[in-house]
């Protein structure tokens, strides 16, 4: 059986920083990433990040993936990175199984950090299964990673930051955005919304998708106004001739592996769905398994990176690989998280974390 100190599931912002932390503490690390690229969702972020300088604010997301990989490269004797590697299961005896580019392998690590991220939600409406109804993140991947134009004309559903930013990026890729609709109101930063409105894209509040029409794929989107009980108001239809509909209606943490590994989960809607019970060290109720990033609750890449740094330090310490500056680093990262979560946009997030952690934030 292959062994290693720490296996990290997921090579996104949280997984990469966890690897940096763990390797700089002296632990041997193996990262498994199911995509053909390392960097998770960072590699498709062409916009400049907000936040603070410590999390690379004002740098474009795809550059941040490069910075993290450069940093990780300093420890290349300790770190193995596998792409096209899907972790299939975590078993009771601590063995993990992986589909590594078609080959089935098993490994017994001392500790596991699960940083699988999140999955885009979908909402129900007739035609939501037609080709051309895409997750907003999926469209971002197609155009920004692979350089493929996702459609000619798009309706964007959802006016959070992802909906707003992806709409702008669609226009940069030469795609027309017919409108952005949202059931309640704009929840993304108004600086993004204003930029899009100035480009002439209507942002309609109080609307939902009534139906998507198409034989083989999306040909037309029909939206309608909703009342306070979320019922469609007759006679308020607006039709758009579009060939794609992007849904940016929230994300949910990818916790399946944790469920299988007997980590206790709790449903907390403010955090996006089922999330693992964890302590301040980001250890789950399975003492050998740690977590970091969106799997702990939907947030920004900036907090995912800080959580990764923490989980890498704590998981390494657990196997007696203690970073020279452990105490200072941990308290700095905890302060950074508090800072990132302190803004006016993070109220719901703070409520969710309060529900999860009680007094132990």
């Amino acid at each position: 059986m292959k062994t290693t100190d720490i296996v990290i599931v997921g090579g996104g912002p949280a997984g990469l920083t966890a690897a940096i932390s763990a390797a700089s503490s002296g632990a041997e690390v193996t990262i498994f990433e199911r995509s053909p690229q390392i960097g998770g969702q960072l590699i498709k972020q062409t916009h400049m990040f907000f936040g603070s300088e410590k999390q690379y604010a004002s740098h474009r997301g795809f550059r941040i993936a490069d910075y993290l990989l450069d940093e990780l490269n300093k420890y290349k004797d300790k770190v193995k990175i596998y792409k096209n590697a899907t972790v299939l299961g975590i078993y009771e005896d601590g063995v993990i199984t992986v589909d590594l580019d078609g080959e089935y392998i098993k490994m017994l690590p001392k500790r596991i950090i699960v940083a699988t991220g999140a999955n885009e939600k979908i909402i129900p409406f007739p035609g939501n299964d037609l080709p051309g109804v895409y997750g907003a993140g999926a469209v971002q991947t197609l155009m920004n990673v692979y350089g493929v134009k996702p459609a000619d004309k798009v309706l964007m559903v959802g006016a959070g930051n992802i909906g707003l930013i992806v709409s702008y990026q669609l226009m940069q890729a030469g795609v027309e955005v017919a409108a952005i609709i949202t059931d309640l109101f704009i929840t993304g930063y108004h600086v993004h919304a204003s930029k899009i409105a100035r480009m002439g894209v209507p942002i309609l509040s109080g609307y939902t998708v009534k139906e998507i029409v198409g034989e083989e794929q999306v040909e037309k989107a029909i939206i309608a106004k909703i009342d306070k009980q979320w019922n469609i108001i007759e006679g308020t239809d607006i039709e758009y001739d579009v060939d794609a509909v992007c849904l940016s209606v929230g994300l949910s943490p990818l916790v399946e592996l944790l469920g299988q590994a007997n980590c206790e989960l709790r449903f907390i809607s403010e955090l996006g769905g089922y999330v693992p019970i964890r302590n301040l060290d980001y250890r789950t109720t399975n003492e050998n398994i740690f977590v970091a990033g969106d799997i702990t609750g939907i947030e920004e890449a900036s907090s995912a990176m800080v959580e990764g740094y923490i989980a890498g330090l704590t998981a390494a310490k657990d196997i007696a690989c203690i970073h020279d500056d452990y105490e200072n680093k941990i308290s700095d990262y905890r302060n950074q998280l508090d800072g990132l979560r302190s803004g006016p946009h993070s109220g719901r997030l703070r409520q969710g974390i309060e529900k999860l952690m009680g007094g132990n934030k």
């Binding site: 995509s35 885009e120 299964d129 051309g132 469209v139 493929v148």
Partner: protein
């Protein structure tokens, strides 16, 4: 369709890769996934639902949702959105749940 001009990104396409979609020859590039190459060639219907045979395209593009499963080189249920394109691959629309090898 491929994006040629972009204000921020520069797409460096790799070598051309020839592959087959339901028997038809299609050209993609090194660095593509099966799904991105198909989409660039105008193919958005990647499969059909198991019972009602409704058309299916990709949804998440990160290997999670199973909406893009196709038969690749005879192997069923391949997540084409994260499968790197390779020379002479045969890619087919899958009927039903596919064969388990």
């Amino acid at each position: 369709m491929r994006i040629e001009n972009h204000p921020i990104l520069e797409f460096k396409r790799g070598n051309e890769i020839k592959f087959y979609f339901d028997g038809e020859e299609i050209i993609g590039y090194e660095g593509d996934t099966v799904a991105s190459a198909l989409h660039a060639a105008g193919v958005r219907v990647l499969g059909e639902s198991v019972f009602k045979h409704r058309p299916r395209g990709f949804y998440c593009a990160i290997g999670n949702c199973s909406s893009c499963l196709m038969t690749v080189n005879g192997e069923s249920n391949v997540r084409t959105c994260i499968t790197p394109l390779k020379e002479k691959m045969t890619v087919e629309i899958q009927k039903g749940k596919g064969e388990i090898l």
